[in-house]
């Protein structure tokens, strides 16, 4: 936590958790999807479910999905913008047990046909936790530039991924690996000290056994 977590972020009101946090969840979901979303089915739980209209949580989530940052004044009319950009959405009451009171589950489909499911919670201030991606436990906060790579769970994958990152002279701050089953689909989340460039993303995408590379570039921006 630094001083600009206390004085900041610059954001559209009224609520850091219900508006700014929701916009960040939307934006991260878009980055994880990797393309313009065309459909979104959004389940709200707890306080999100009870108070989303008055807090503009719906506007913030949809605005974030369209790529808006927390300080984008267009968040106010994001629902109208979604209509004009061909993003169809629906909100429903999600049933969850023992979840954080500000939890949301998003099923989104991109214009390239890719679908993902993201579950996230807004945990105070505009802090969020991406809890799971397509059912794989994630648990990162989006404070650092983060590479999220889904890949075939096979020996050597982590080594070749980290080798490519090292070749770009980028230090890995943290690394977490998750998988559903041995030999199935796995995911690795790498928080980076530096900024991944397109060349690195290309090289990672072309590695054998890689399903998808998403890059959450946040450092240096007021996200």
């Amino acid at each position: 936590m630094d001083l600009f977590d206390i004085i900041g972020p610059v954001m559209i009101g009224p609520s850091s958790s219900h508006t700014a946090g929701a916009a960040r969840i939307g934006k991260f979901t878009r980055m994880l999807l990797g393309s313009e979303p065309i459909t979104a089915r959004i389940g709200l739980f707890g306080s999100f479910q009870k108070t989303y209209l008055g807090h503009g949580t719906d506007k913030a989530l949809i605005g974030g999905l369209m790529g808006m940052d927390v300080d984008d004044i267009r968040l106010r009319e994001s629902l109208e913008l979604a209509d004009s950009r061909g993003l169809t959405y629906e909100f429903y009451d999600a049933e969850m047990r023992g979840a954080h009171p500000n939890t949301v589950i998003l099923d989104v489909k991109g214009e390239d046909g890719r679908k993902i499911q993201v579950r996230a919670a807004s945990v105070g201030g505009s802090e969020i936790i991406i809890q799971s991606i397509d059912g794989l436990e994630a648990g990162f906060s989006g404070h650092e530039n983060t590479l999220v790579i889904t890949h075939h769970d096979t020996p050597g994958m982590i080594a070749s991924i980290s080798g490519e990152v090292a070749a770009s002279q980028i230090n890995i701050a943290t690394m977490r690996v998750f998988r559903q089953s041995v030999g199935g689909e796995a995911m690795v989340a790498l928080e980076l000290d530096g900024d991944a460039d397109d060349a690195l993303l290309q090289r990672l995408s072309s590695l054998r056994g890689i399903f998808h590379v998403a890059y959450l570039a946040v450092k240096g921006k007021e996200v």
Partner: protein
């Protein structure tokens, strides 16, 4: 640097203000130059000032329609000047808080719900005594470092610690910032924070219908008044009888002892009033 005492020690050791120690820490922490952090804080001040202006529009209304447009009344010369610098600080605190409630652009300080207090105090001081933007920015650094210590030692989330964690923390930050702005010592700034936190302790988070509107926007006015009185006590040399860090830990205990109904669930406190539940509140924003 985790506590108010750590901050005070850093400032004392280097013969700095809390603001200077905070800027040095921030630059070191994020690996950037002090100039970078300084410029970023200037941008924060600019947004704060814009939000104070935007919130003065009489036509402003929140999504629910419950708040907005009241700061326009409060800023009227007759009403603002009657109470001097406090009158202006109250009007700006309300203006920024209403701007937030109406989906305006604001700076969380430390949260969106309490965003009017610190800038309200600083902007009013500037208007009243002619401080420069640079001097205000030093105050923001002071406030930020104090807020960070509160966030670490207690919490700045209303859902965890009640309104004392949001408007209380903001009042503590503003009190310390004001003391440095008016030329007080680092110790006096810490004492001012202690007084503000002491006087806001136990305040519950009880938003009507769960929205950041009632009582939130008016609590910002209350918070800035607490900040000003705390700063006045410290500046005249009254020592806060308890160390600021101990008050922060007490805040944490009080927050932990609060039932969920008083922690941003919209079930207790003001939210539980009959008129609030039945949608029969007196309307200010028709």
């Amino acid at each position: 640097m985790r506590t108010v005492l750590d901050l005070l020690d850093a400032a004392t050791k280097n013969n700095q203000t809390l603001g200077q120690a905070s800027l040095a820490w921030q630059a070191k922490h994020d690996g950037q130059t002090e100039e970078h952090a300084w410029n970023t804080m200037h941008k924060m001040l600019a947004v704060m000032r814009e939000s104070a202006q935007a919130g003065l529009s009489p036509d402003l209304r929140s999504v629910s329609g419950m708040v907005g447009g009241q700061a326009a009344k409060m800023i009227q010369p007759t009403h603002a000047s009657r109470f001097g610098m406090l009158g202006k600080a109250c009007a700006y605190a309300l203006s920024i808080a209403e701007s937030n409630a109406c989906m305006g652009k604001i700076v969380a300080a430390p949260t969106a719900g309490s965003c009017g207090i610190l800038p309200g105090a600083l902007l009013a001081a500037q208007e009243d005594a002619g401080y420069t933007d640079d001097e205000l920015v030093w105050g923001l650094f002071t406030g930020a470092a104090i807020g960070r210590a509160i966030a670490i030692g207690a919490t700045i989330s209303g859902a965890e610690g009640g309104c004392q964690a949001e408007c209380g923390a903001a009042a503590g930050m503003a009190a310390a910032a004001l003391v440095e702005l008016y030329g007080g010592t680092p110790q006096q700034a810490c004492d001012a924070c202690g007084f503000a936190l002491m006087n806001m302790m136990g305040l519950v988070c009880d938003p009507v219908h769960g929205l950041v509107e009632i009582p939130c926007v008016y609590r910002n006015v209350g918070g800035v008044s607490q900040a000003l009185s705390a700063a006045q006590m410290a500046l005249c040399g009254i020592r806060c009888p308890l160390p600021c860090d101990e008050i922060i830990l007490a805040m944490k205990d009080v927050g932990d002892a609060m039932p969920p109904s008083l922690r941003e669930t919209g079930d207790g406190g003001c939210a539980a009033c009959h008129s609030a539940r039945k949608h029969r509140m007196i309307q200010n924003s028709d």
